[in-house]
Symmetry: C2
Subunit: 296 residues, 2 copies
Amino acid sequence: MLDRQHLTILRSVARYGSVTAAAGAMNLSQSAISHAIAKLEDRHRVKLWRRKGRRLEMTQAGQYLLELAERIVPELEHAETVLADMAKGRRGSLRIGMECHPCEQWLMHVVGPFLQAWPAVDLQMKTAFRFDGIAALQAHEIDMLVTPDPMALPDVTFTPVFDYELVIVLPADHPLVGRDRIQPDDLRDQTLYTVPVTPNRLDIFTRFLTPAGRRPAAHVGIESVDLMLQLVAAGRGVTVLPDWLVALQADRLPIVTRPIGGGLQKAINLGTRIEDHDIDYVAGFRLIAGQEFKRP
Amino acid sequence: MLDRQHLTILRSVARYGSVTAAAGAMNLSQSAISHAIAKLEDRHRVKLWRRKGRRLEMTQAGQYLLELAERIVPELEHAETVLADMAKGRRGSLRIGMECHPCEQWLMHVVGPFLQAWPAVDLQMKTAFRFDGIAALQAHEIDMLVTPDPMALPDVTFTPVFDYELVIVLPADHPLVGRDRIQPDDLRDQTLYTVPVTPNRLDIFTRFLTPAGRRPAAHVGIESVDLMLQLVAAGRGVTVLPDWLVALQADRLPIVTRPIGGGLQKAINLGTRIEDHDIDYVAGFRLIAGQEFKRP
DNA sequence: ATCAAACCATGAAGGAAATGCATAATGCTG
DNA sequence: CAGCATTATGCATTTCCTTCATGGTTTGAT
């Protein structure tokens, strides 16, 4: 079996010109190399070099294998450094999954510094999973989940990295603008725009309307945040968004925000598998996510 | 040490989906693979796969090594078949050296069939050596020597592949044309054209003139056979060439040939190192050289 | 020529490492 | 929860590698 050792020996012998010198450089005995190559030569019935007085001369077969060795051995050596990097958490791939549409916007502020700090990490993002985000994380479909809705699980931890508040977004001339804060009953005859998911996955329902036994006059799913705001600005209805996200657009549109009840506090959480906690760049991402992001 | 075995295992496991199946395919025990990979994982502190219920799933490091394996292992396997070809004498390089200028012409008739019969052999030709052809052969500068002058040597054999006769070439209107055969004394007042080497390497001297104590009126070295024949045809002198070589030009020039004394028989010989005699394509060249060439 | 030095080949012996065997542990599946 | 399939692990064994010791070959100097 043509083995890595054989190629390494060949390279060393070619470099140092003699078996003895090559053996010294490899911390082996001259005999070891002699035996190893003799066995290879026997196995394949091919001579690799011939004694040419005091120095050795590669045969055709020897030169062929030497070229192979010069190609392959460095590749293997490089692979070992890559493994070392992976082991130390300096290198790898980080596949980030997002469940909430606004999370995507937030994430864009974090990836820049991260990519600079961890140049050997291959960063990828996914927004569509076969099932939900947590399942994707557990199935190793992604390595990190960005979500505002953490869960208690044995093999996954969530750490909050960014606090924000969900607020009602109203047209500037809306009657409700007069109120300091919005109550569930206020939405009774409003059209509510949200991202297109079922109400049981929307905080405005689960934490505000449903506990109070109320529902909006209409509930319409909209894909794009921009479109939602346009619709609100046009007086077609109201919506619920993170405060900082609205703030980014507030000066360009005639819209106003009001707190939801006593205030609907949320936090963006980063979910990671516990088994990955000793990977440096995973911890690194959490660190940067918590430090670097500044509210716009 | 990341070894070929590890890569082979990785490939097999990826292909068969389980360690047990991979072990079967490799004629190893499941335990052997388990041990081998466990050791590699310990050495580099990297997991290569994780149990995913009934099947295994490669980690990032595992996938990285798997890609490496898919590239490198086939290369090594190919190298082994190349070695086998070399061992069986089906593949290799054949560097042919020539000492006599006419040999080059002869050789051209042989290489075509040889290249067809031995497609994996890399054929090269050399006409200039650091010393003489035999030394080049012994120093592995060439693998075969084409020469009309064999020598008895312990490590080299010569086999004749083509018999020919050296003849005097005369202008058609030369006085000596009247003779059946030429005697040494006949050249006393002739200009003799030969290839530009010293007389002791020319048969016309060593085997004809010198033993008889004669020499031509003038001895002029000419590089090109064509030019030699032109000079003879023009009546400027005479020359000595293989009969078959003259026959190629005889119908286009006013020249005539006559035997030298009792006939100067020669043979083109192929010299090869004894150590190379079990290389098939070397024997193959000799065979084709003897069979294929037909006198023009 | 002779001799010393450098170098490689080879056989025997010892030891480390890979492999196999038996068994425990794990995780699906019905 | 039982049963099946598969992997992990401890221990015994064998294989293979390495070293040691030695002899042979080439080179270069005396």
